[in-house]
């Protein structure tokens, strides 16, 4: 179902009515039916894949949970009559059993993800390799990738790993795991939540609150404004930039890249605002996915504030396990002895970061351009980690005051430009096109003709819409540095005026947004 449609609004109104009318203990069942119905609108058969993931993850988690409970009971019963060696042997056997179940479930589910998402990429690589021997492999695969597969697979496997590590209890009900896997506001673009966080919200009983409903609706409208007015208007301009940058001057190419940064932020954070607002109306708090990322002072900080839930997933389930793994720690220890303390400290984190960033690249897309994009992000983060000491000494030598406004502004602008250049790399077309656009920024030269500065703008109304929308988003972000924007509005603006503001936004969406949204899907839905 298209979220930017009247049918979605009707679906939402119907859901809210049923959700608050049924007995509270049935609310999660209403959400489950709504989620499966939402997903089935893309084809009933497509439901098979999230259901398969939910069932296999539920079964594996139950088996691991039962085994862990049995181990606890056995150790309790044999506390006095077993030697330490016997207990260790039992624990090792039980752990190996649980690990087998975990690995089987992970391989099965990541196998489905890889089969759908990476089959064309793998076949292309095999075809290249076969070409060296004069052979060819024809790609006849025409599978339709299940909606949101990257998101729900990560969320479900995260739950399984949490059960395996004893962070959460295994859920008894397969239906509850199915809702956790398929919850419709999250399934297409995240956020990727943990079972501890989302389960607590989904399975609690919620009473209708006028305040939550109004604030949820306000956030929903703000999200629609960001997506339908700002992102969709920018979408046309960015399309022209990516298709035709080779004749641009340097500043025009840079402005085009900046437009893409604004578009993807308005698009993705707009979706999150819509879904967080919708969930707030249901009394459910979703994990926040953005924290004003373009105000970051380093690439590492940017990734802690952009798509927060994906970063948290990679940190918790890949980065830390690799960094603290026995082999990596051993390597660090050896490096510490032979190459010095600093080298030994940095090495385990560096190896983990390399793997995390290459995987992050692959998660975003099955192409060398995305792998390179992940690699470049990782490179900047690793380089800044290793150079922290010399960088601090350089700042001291230059008498730079860390807390001065000018220095912080410089850091923010530098990081924003840097992430913008990295962002466009895989989006223009091929990797060569991405580098081509970046190259154009530095080699495109200047022009005195003002129209050559924005050749991608076809109508002046587009330009005013974007300037107004981006200006409004900037204003909201500046206020949010100190307090949530709606707290600020509630404190400073009378209730009637507040309603007028959101009513004005609603009419702007109708007037400016709808025409721009023709066929404009969400950018992150492709991941």
């Amino acid at each position: 179902m298209d979220i930017l449609s009247v049918s979605f609004l009707l679906f939402l109104i119907g859901l809210l009515a049923v959700y608050y009318l049924v007995p509270k203990r049935w609310q999660w069942i209403v959400l489950l039916v709504a989620s499966l119905g939402f997903y089935a609108m893309g084809g009933v058969l497509s439901l098979l894949w999230p259901c398969l993931t939910a069932v296999t993850i539920w079964a594996a988690a139950r088996a691991i949970g039962r085994d862990a409970a049995a181990q606890k009971d056995w150790l309790k019963a044999h506390k006095a009559d077993c030697t330490k060696e016997e207990k260790d042997r039992y624990k090792a056997k039980a752990k190996a059993r649980r690990r087998r179940i975990l690995v089987l479930a992970l391989v099965f589910n990541f196998g489905i993800l890889c089969a759908f998402k990476y089959v064309h990429f793998l076949l292309a690589q095999l075809n290249t390799a076969a070409g060296w021997f004069g052979c060819a492999i024809e790609d006849r695969v025409s599978w339709v990738v299940p909606l949101g597969i990257s998101f729900y697979t990560f969320q479900a496997t995260g739950y399984l790993l949490d059960v395996y590590w004893g962070r959460v209890e295994a859920e008894r009900s397969v239906w509850r795991v199915l809702l956790f896997t398929s919850f419709f506001p999250q399934i297409t673009q995240g956020p990727i939540s943990t079972y501890a966080d989302l389960g607590r919200e989904l399975f609690a009983e919620h009473t209708f609150s006028y305040h939550e409903a109004v604030w949820g609706a306000e956030r929903l409208i703000w999200g629609f404004f960001k997506k339908m007015v700002v992102a969709n208007t920018l979408s046309g301009m960015v399309g022209r930039v990516f298709a035709d940058f080779s004749g641009y001057t340097g500043p025009a190419a840079l402005l085009g890249a900046l437009c893409y940064s604004a578009q993807i932020y308005a698009d993705f954070s707009g979706y999150m605002d819509i879904m967080c607002g919708l969930c707030q109306m249901l009394g459910i708090r979703l994990t926040e996915n953005f924290e004003r990322p373009y105000f970051s002072k380093s690439v590492a900080e940017y990734w802690r504030r952009w798509h927060i839930s994906l970063g948290a997933w990679f940190k918790n389930y890949l980065y830390y396990p690799i960094a603290v793994s026995r082999w990596n720690q051993k390597l660090g220890k050896t490096a510490k002895k032979r190459l010095g303390k600093a080298f030994g400290n940095y090495l385990p984190a560096t190896l983990a970061l390399v793997l995390v960033w290459l995987t992050t690249g692959l998660w975003h897309g099955a192409s060398w351009a995305y792998i390179a994009w992940g690699g470049v992000n990782g490179l900047f983060i690793i380089f800044s980690m290793w150079m922290e000491g010399p960088y601090d000494r350089l700042k001291q030598a230059l008498h730079i005051r860390e807390q001065s406004r000018a220095w912080r502004l410089f850091q923010v602008v530098r990081t924003f430009l840097l992430v913008t250049l990295i962002k466009v790399l895989p989006e223009v077309g091929t990797l060569a096109d991405g580098f081509g656009l970046i190259g154009r920024i530095f080699t495109g030269g200047l022009s005195r003709d003002p129209y050559r500065l924005i050749p991608f703008v076809q109508k002046l109304s587009e330009l005013w819409t974007v300037l107004f929308g981006v200006g409004l988003m900037l204003l909201v972000s500046l206020v949010q540095r100190k307090e949530p924007f709606r707290d600020y509005l509630a404190r400073r603006v009378p209730y009637g005026v507040r309603i007028m503001i959101f009513a004005a936004l609603f009419f702007l969406i109708l007037y400016l947004g709808v025409p721009a949204s023709g066929g404009g899907g969400f950018l992150y839905a492709q991941f």
Binding site: K84, L161, Y164, W165, G166, R167, A300, K315, N316, Y319, Y320, P321, A323, V324, R326, Q329, G332, K333, G344, N345, P348, A349, A352, M385
Partner: protein, 77 residues
């Protein structure tokens, strides 16, 4: 406990570890600090800190870390 305090001071000498209880939630330690911390604790106390122990509650204060070290030692015995 003194050895743990030495490890923590080595990571960030400006923090008062006697009172601070928001080392992770308050974003005082970043992920690199946590890895360095785990590496040094494992080496000094000869224990293995696994992914299951990597939850903010175990690293928010020196006291919580000390409790975790004792618990892992007990589990190993």
């Amino acid at each position: 406990m003194d050895e743990l305090m030495d490890i923590l001071t080595d990571i960030d000498p400006d923090v008062d570890y006697e009172v601070e209880d928001q080392l992770i939630d308050g974003k005082i330690f970043d992920s690199f600090s946590i890895i360095t911390l785990i590496s040094n604790i494992s080496e000094t106390f000869d224990i293995e800190i696994g992914p299951k122990d990597l939850i903010p509650e175990n690293f928010n204060s020196a006291e919580a870390m000390w409790d975790m070290i004792q618990r892992i030692r007990e589990e190993d015995e």
